[in-house]
Structures are given as C-alpha cells and as structure tokens.
C-alpha cells in the first residue's frame, strides 16, 4: 500500500507528519484526513476559543499534495455579523 503523510495546522501549531500511514488509495487518504480534521476540531474547538482554523494537507510518498481539507470555525454575536467572515482575509495568514 502507498504511504501518505498528513500535515496538520491546528490554528496554533503546524505539525508535519514524520511517520505517515499506509492506505489503499488517495481517496481513502482523503477520507482519513476528513475524519481526522473533524475529530481534532470536535475536541479542540470547545476548549479553545471562538475562532480557529484547522487544516490538513495530504501528501503522497514523493511529498506531492494530493488533497487538502480545512475547517474554519467562527462564532459570532448578532451585532458582529455585518461582514461575512470570508471577507476579512484571515485565511491568507496561512
């Protein structure tokens, strides 16, 4: 089975995956990334703030990007909803 690497940015730290995981296909690797992202976000969001970006980049054995997934979490109070979050450009900080 080919090996895939899952580099994670959790809003505070960038953690490259030194080890990788052997998986049957890039499609399964994409599913694995999606599940991982949702698990990590589900645990981290409730304890850490109202604004958080989680991002996983899946690389193959030659370290070429095969897919990317992100969760961009916001909470906004009604009086702060004048602009949509995507307008603010925070995503460019990565």
């Amino acid at each position: 089975m080919p090996r895939f690497y899952f580099d994670l940015y959790d809003g505070e730290n960038f953690a490259p995956d030194p080890q990788g995981v052997d998986l049957p296909s890039a499609d399964i690797a994409k599913q694995e990334a999606t599940r991982t992202l949702s698990e990590i976000a589900a645990q981290e969001i409730p304890v850490n703030g109202s604004r958080r970006l989680f991002r996983i980049v899946v690389l193959d054995e030659s370290r070429t990007i095969v897919s990317e997934a992100r969760i961009d979490f916001h909470t906004t109070l009604p009086e702060n909803t004048g602009k949509s979050p995507g307008d603010r450009g925070e995503l460019d900080d990565l």
């Binding site: 953690a15 995956d17 995981v21 694995e32 991982t36 698990e39 990590i40």
Partner: protein
C-alpha cells in the same frame, strides 16, 4: 515443571485465590495447541462454539464490525486470558476474535471445562469473577470512548495494558510488549489512524509514553496516569 497453562494460572491468581487443587485441575485440562498468524481470525462473529481459547503467548483482540465496514476493537487479550470464556454459556459468539500478533493459543473443549468446574465447583466463582471483570472493563471503556479526550483515551489504554501485564509479571520496569498496529489502536479508541498517531506523538513529545513497533514504555507513570484519570480499581486485581 512448567506447564503451558501456567500463564492462565498466573492471570487467575492476579484476580483471586487459587488453591493447589484448582491449579491441578487447570493443569489437567486437555489442551489443543495452535499457532495463529497476525490478523487471522480465531473465532468469527456468528460461529457456534464448542471450545474456549486460552492465549498462551502473543496477543488476541476482539472486535465488531458495522455493516458499513467500520470496526470497533473492544478488547485486547495478552497471554493468560480466555477471551471467549462467555462462549461456554453463550455458544453463538457475537464478536470476532483475531490475532493481534503471531500467537500461541490452546483450545479447550467446553465439555472439559464443564467437567473441571463440576469437580471443582469453587473454581466456578473465579471464572465468573473473570467474566465480570471483563464486563467491568467495558464499562470503563464505554465511558472513555464517549467522554474522554483523545490523549486521555490513549493514555488510559497504555495504563490498562501495563497494569494487566504487570499483574502477571510480563513487564520490564515500565516497558512491555503491546503488539497492536496503528489501526488496531485507532479502532479501539474510536479515532482515525492519523489522529491516533498524532496523539501518540504528543504523548512522546511530552515524555509520557514511547511506543514503536509493538514495544511500549511508560516514561512518566504519575503524569500519564493522571492525564488518563486512570484508577485501576475497575480491573479488580486486589482480590477484593
């Protein structure tokens, strides 16, 4: 003299009293020994059993698989365990039992176990106790999988395996064999493989736990067990 069954005797002695006549009765059990390769199934969901399986060396695990293919590993069984003792009374098994690593097992006919318990009725108490402890582990694991953080779940798994192996003398300091794969551990803890790896890396970077190639070492028991909120009383090792 050393008997194959002594691993079972050591395990039972860790959870209760085992007088000499009970040890003798266990040593008289007719064993059919077999070797199983990693990943091979010993018992499959739906099988109707006529024997139980004692782990002599290596490790087995029980698991259940959803119709969509998602797998939950429900327990790990090192040497000395009888992972399918329930099949004595619940002959149609509702889980699959597989080899975590290359293992030696002994199959014992249900009729032989029944005869032994008929002749040594008090040994039934200990077998019953073992089955109840098995279910006590599930209570704790249900709580962990439902409520604990990924780090706490991972830490707890290693605290439990260490404590069980320590009770039968299968540890070297805080180092022990835990021959589970990334995927077995992820499926036991209800997390993705990548998440499980990342969690192990975090525990390693905090100098709590080292785990590679089936070998584990707890680097800081007080901190790891505190992170896990580990309380070994559910393993009932004291004989209480």
């Amino acid at each position: 003299m050393i008997y194959d069954i002594d691993v079972l005797i050591a395990k039972l002695e860790a959870i209760g009293n085992l007088p000499e006549e009970h040890r003798q009765a266990l040593r008289n059990l007719p064993l059919q020994k077999a070797s199983v390769e990693r990943g091979h199934d010993v018992v499959m969901d739906g099988n109707i059993m006529t024997h139980c399986c004692i782990v002599l060396s290596g490790m087995l695990h029980r698991h259940k698989t959803m119709k969509d293919g998602s797998r939950q590993v429900i327990s790990f069984h090192p040497a000395g365990d009888i992972p399918d003792l329930q099949s004595l009374h619940l002959r149609k098994v509702d889980y699959t039992l597989s080899a975590t690593t290359r293992s030696q097992i002994a199959l014992v006919e249900h009729s032989a176990i029944r005869d032994m318990l008929h002749n040594q009725p008090k040994l039934t108490d200990l077998m019953w106790r073992d089955t109840l402890i098995d279910s006590a582990k599930f209570l704790t694991w249900m709580m962990l999988v439902g409520q604990a953080s990924a780090e706490a779940r991972m830490a707890h798994l290693f605290c439990e395996i260490y404590t069980r192996l320590n009770a039968v003398g299968d540890v070297s300091g805080y180092a022990f064999a835990f021959p589970a794969t990334q995927s077995d551990i992820a499926d036991a803890l209800g997390m993705s493989i990548v998440h499980a790896n990342r969690t192990l890396q975090m525990l390693r970077s905090e100098s709590l736990l080292a785990f590679a190639n089936g070998q584990a070492e707890i680097l800081d028991w007080p901190r790891l067990s505190r992170l896990a909120q580990f309380d070994s009383s559910y393993l009932h090792l004291s004989g209480e």
